[in-house]
Symmetry: D3
Subunit: 321 residues, 6 copies
């Protein structure tokens, strides 16, 4: 992972690859200039190129509708008002042979993908109820190839592995909760719901070159909650499992109700203890994930940016002593 | 339809069949007595039987868990505080040969069932889009046999034919709306949604002897909105229609979004004009149906009972002149 | 109606009359430039004039406080970032003899004004209750001369005829509703309310050269709902009708309650079925009008702009097949 | 004012006049008995009459629909569960010659009616703006004869003089507020609004024998806010004052907006400082009036009954020291 | 723990000790009778005693204001309408020598008190930050003697040990969460908050004979949140710890903000990740505790009673297979 | 107080001291220019300096992070679009000897600081309850030195003396309210609460050179409500007053509950009449203060700017006649 931006200082001349994520023409002195956003896994920086020449316009024509793109930039960092920006000398495509994966420039969840997959698959294997185990295994395999690239939320942490991280966290918290209420909670049902609950978000987000750039029409017309309910039904049918079997209907209910209330997108509310538990655990990790994302980007001792989701700022402190 | 109760006066001795809808033992003078509710299509009356004898207790044992039941009652109407009640002399099962259908005692929507079916089926036949027409016809046939008995809502009008009435009203209002916005609204899509939108309520309500007595587990675990989405998918599959065809997904969207907002049970909100139109028309007729039910039970010149749904009373007036 | 803007392509040199709706001086290369918005019935375009000369400043002084104005513009269309803008060569007042009505440049509701008036006046003539018919006819005549210019809402469709269109739609939907609930709804009362309910919006909006530019003080101090109640009272008095007659009070109630709830501006809530019906029908057409306005401006196959009123975007699709 | 009930103890035989406010027949031992509520200015007591005789039934027939009535009751107080009730020996109409005004049995606001009228009329006389002074004087005279009997609210303090008390409090608080913001607030406008703001409640409540028993149809169809706006208009017309004069429209605005928000019944929100001030002062005294009513009925050292308006209980404490 | 009630059948003659929790006189045949509620750890039963004799009235006088009391009851179980009640033959105080602790009749949380104390005290000992460890140990010792008797909530589970159970659950969930977000969360701070957050509820509830019977004045005047903040301050002072030390202020913040939002009683909202985590974990276990309480009282295969806190019912199912 | 800005006209050449409150570099013709905001007690003006020279950049480096600063500016007022701006010729620090206090440039509350202090201290002296009088006097002395500089709210009126003004208004309104409800309200308790209720806001705001620039961490971690509760406790302890004395706990309750509801920051809601009265009076003056601030900045006859707090505009009118 490339992490140059975070440690840039004023008045450095640099020549580096970055991910160009926005590019606009602006009107200024002596005609138009470019205003750009460059990113790597450690953050973003604003950059400006003046004195545009023919080659710049050619580049613009080729790439401004195909962002994000990896580009090679040479420039000088300057203090500009509250922050550092980059005065760009030139900007070019990297050589063909140096083709660099976009994923190198993206932040990623603090997990090991392979370990997480192993943990989840062992958890699936540990399910006692055969019907649930077969359905969950099948649906999970369906989504597994796409899972690592997806973030847990389009508003929250955009990182590679975010959805996988959230899924693993949800499963672990559910295991703790089962330990607290062992008589009330059926482990097979709760863990099955925990694994599948958010996977269909993969059909809600449009991934372009490893970055979620927008939501799909499907997310507006059907939504990941009903999409997963469809998947469970169809998987059951494919596996010759009765779609009206009690476990199948209860698993569908776990998925349909996991947002807790209609206003958050669930067509029905949790009606069994396992559905409540899944909803509460999902909400807890989702909110902590938002806090984590905010916290990561905040320097020590400072208040974070305003979070629209949390409707507040948080402070990053270290407890002394 | 039997309509005796509405016109009862004080001090009449009557001997009639009624629908017994509740029966409780109460402690009073000289031991326990029965407190009952008797109903017919025109309303309800409270009744009390004193001086219980062996036969009464036998009757109680047999029927108090199997209500509602048609019974034959002889008694005397009395003024009691604000209203009329019935002092019961005896209460018996009707003779076997006089077996009377419960439906005779139920209020019903002011429509002709056959005419309504004909109207809906002609409307289905008029749909231009073959995919939609085939799916709608098939799903409609699935529910048609059960449709007449169901009310439009468990809180609102309990009457026989209520769901059919609401469906027909929705279709007619949609036709008017299509006339007002002909360029914006696709008739096939809007009318298809109008016909199917509430049919799966039939799986939400438990019908016992022609009366909806409670909601089913399915209504809590899945709900009629997602149930109809499942039905459309499965019908398409049965008819060899691609479940990812645009019309199928849009029709699913019409159904999923027709409650307008998540807090009213829709997992997604209306995202095309036809979905908005269906939601608005459905809400209008649903609310007017509640007003109608309240208005029907209110004497001319009086304020109605308090309606929890409307959060108010209405006044039944006649405009003079 | 002039509809040039919608079909402009890049690199066209045009010389056309437009409606200039905004004009600002901006700081840029070689001093200030003008940033303008030009409109016709088919849409809007941004335009910029550089190299300002004395005549430009004279024009600015004369017209920048008197917008909108019809102007003659010569310029060249350019691709600029996501959209087309116009590089202006010159901008002048049209010759006196070519004086062109602003209304040619405005979008308008898809109705024929004369037909709508005829429809409404025939509807008024069909009212059976003489008191209502006389009051409605008189109040309608009061507002009729101003009616065609007004939009249905300052937030929604700004078009010429919008208020008349909404009034006609409301009447037609009420006729359908009366057909569905013929016993419950008094046609005279409901239709009278439908015709008058929004007319006093004409006193809420300030019209300048055929365009609603802002709301009046009266709309904040009294509001169109109470204003229409005053109008009914005063009209009754002028016509020697007892202001305490039942129909007059009920018609006032229809008007006062038609926004349904206090939070939407009604000092009292609907208390008779006709008042409910008017409220529900009015809300339905108002919301569909907002959807229509959004839909009209959206290219086929695209998601619309964000609508603050609907709190969402809609997609403009065509159903194939 | 009669205040017997508050000081009754167990096992007293009493023979007193009370106000009978409810009378119901109940089923119990040896047939029906009467369950009654008796009231005087100090509170209420439940009473029961057993062994009903012919005269009791005659009394019942005559008065149970004409309550409240003054009756003479002889009985014995008993401890019954948490509270005292009265075992009634006989209950009769008082002799014709002893006819006693119902108002003797009602709680009343802690003011002197004549002093309050004098204070308000002197305040009116002190208004500098002739137009406002003439309108306020005229409207006040219209309502003055009915004012003493009315409570400030049907939910709150039911007492004689309550509306007059609230009006006087509102005026006094407005005088203080004018002293705090003398440049911003026009005294004539604010005081005029303060005097008139609630007077039309007199048309909202139905008074039967000095007690507000229910709200009128007018309160539901038009409401006291719009009714007072009508009164101001018509009074201006009678006094040959231009109804479009600035003061008249602003005074109407004060009245229309004094509930602050649409959801509390105002068709427009306060748009001038004086309208805000009136709204805030009115809300303050209204809420303190509710607290006062609750506090009055609560014994020292106890928590009050639950107040639906305040959504809580208050504690009646004495600060020692 | 006594658990007789749960397994009672119709027509059993029993003679058992129960906890009498309510006792009322009612009017019925041949004078008054007693209506009682009897409880043990497995549930409640309604009981009635007829034919009251002198000794019954003496018992009533002595105990009806001092409930709950352990009593010895002999009676016969009967089917009455939907449920079983007990026809009481006699009811007496138990012999002095058989004095039985009320706690035997109370439901209790499914934990071992000693184990939980050991777990919490070992957790306290494991805190690295000395300031926090000393404060938490001291405050915990203050409340420890009273902790076992208290329930977690006056609305939820009333059982012995409930508050201790909830405290332990909160700590365990926090440990899991710390494992998921190890860099972001300071364990000392989060665990300190977890242990102390609800202890001051002990001052909010009034305990009478081991049962929480109502909330204290202190709970209304100050509340357990601010009370614990006071306790931390005063403990710091007693221990000669600077009350303005960073850890002390952050710990106060953890406590003050743990209800998450002002509307739930927190004067400030969570502003550091640990405060968010505590709030989310506390809310999760509190809600699951309510579900657990409901679930426990519901027979297998049935829907539970309506829960006002959850605003719904839950179904108790067993997953087959 | 300096009040130049309010009366500036177009085309005046001025040389004056102003408070520079913002300073930014912008990209424009011939390189960057300065965009500044200059303020005095009568308002603000935008200013621009072109043709930046070395001295300008030096000034920028020195002061742009230390704003606000008093500067001497020479320039020419110009009409620019809707408003006046200032074309700056030069901008310099004032001579050392002319050092001018920032407070001269700030708006201030329309009160005399000394008179207000005298009024509050006489009020404190008039308290009868010795415990309350001693605590209030001591806490007031603690905050008194800082009081004059603080505004009543960071969102509302920023003026010098604003908090003192609001405190005095609250006391005066409470005196009026005590006059209206003399039996219900204990003057000592209500007045004590009125004086102390907002003083701890002084610890919520960060004051830099006489201007509140932001809120403190303490305001987020503890908040002024709990801070004042701490102050009362600690002051009582210092004065050897029992912290559990009834008056002390009630005074704490007054402070803790004065925001009325949890959602506005009170951990407990008002539970005694005095707490209600303080809450209502505080809310009234706070809202009128916002209206006053808006009104002051609005020219006569105009609508004000949009107020986010009030969610509306107000109109500044003069009542004629």
């Amino acid at each position: 992972m490339r992490k140059v931006i975070q440690s840039l200082k004023v008045n450095e001349t640099i020549k580096e690859h970055f991910l160009l994520t926005s590019l606009q023409t602006k009107l200024g002195k002596n005609g138009t200039y470019f205003e750009m956003t460059l990113a790597d896994a450690s953050g973003e920086i604003k950059a400006r190129k003046w004195d545009l020449v023919e080659k710049d316009y050619q580049l613009y024509d080729v790439i401004h509708k195909e962002l994000p793109q990896v580009v090679l930039v040479k420039g000088l960092t300057r203090q500009f008002q509250q922050s550092i920006d980059l005065k760009v000398f030139y900007i070019v495509y990297p050589d063909v042979e140096t083709s660099i994966s976009i994923s190198e420039f993206l932040p990623s969840a603090p997990i090991n993908i392979d370990d997480s997959f192993r943990e989840l698959e062992e958890t699936i294997a540990s399910l006692q109820n055969e019907t649930l185990r077969r359905i969950v295994r099948e649906v999970f395999q369906l989504y597994k190839p796409f899972l690592p690239q997806y973030p847990a939320s389009i508003h929250g942490h955009q990182g590679y592995g975010g959805l996988l991280w959230h899924t693993t966290n949800t499963v672990r918290l559910c295991e703790t909760v089962i330990g607290l209420y062992p008589k009330m909670l059926n482990r097979d049902l709760l863990i099955s719901g925990a694994i599948l609950h958010d996977l269909a978000k993969i059909k809600d987000y449009k991934l372009e070159k490893g970055i979620v750039t927008k939501v799909t029409d499907k997310s507006k017309f059907v939504g990941h909650i009903v999409t997963m309910a469809y998947d469970i039904r169809e998987t059951a049918r494919v596996l010759n499992i009765d779609v009206h079997a009690q476990e199948v209907e209860l698993l569908e209910h776990m998925i349909l109700s996991h947002h807790g209330k209609g206003e958050f997108g669930s067509p029905v509310e949790p009606s069994i203890p396992e559905a409540f538990a899944l909803h509460l655990v999902d909400a807890l990790d989702t909110k902590l994930g938002v806090v984590h994302n905010l916290w990561e980007k905040t320097p020590l001792g400072e208040w974070s940016d305003w979070s629209k989701v949390l409707e507040k700022r948080i402070k990053k402190v270290t407890v002394e002593g």
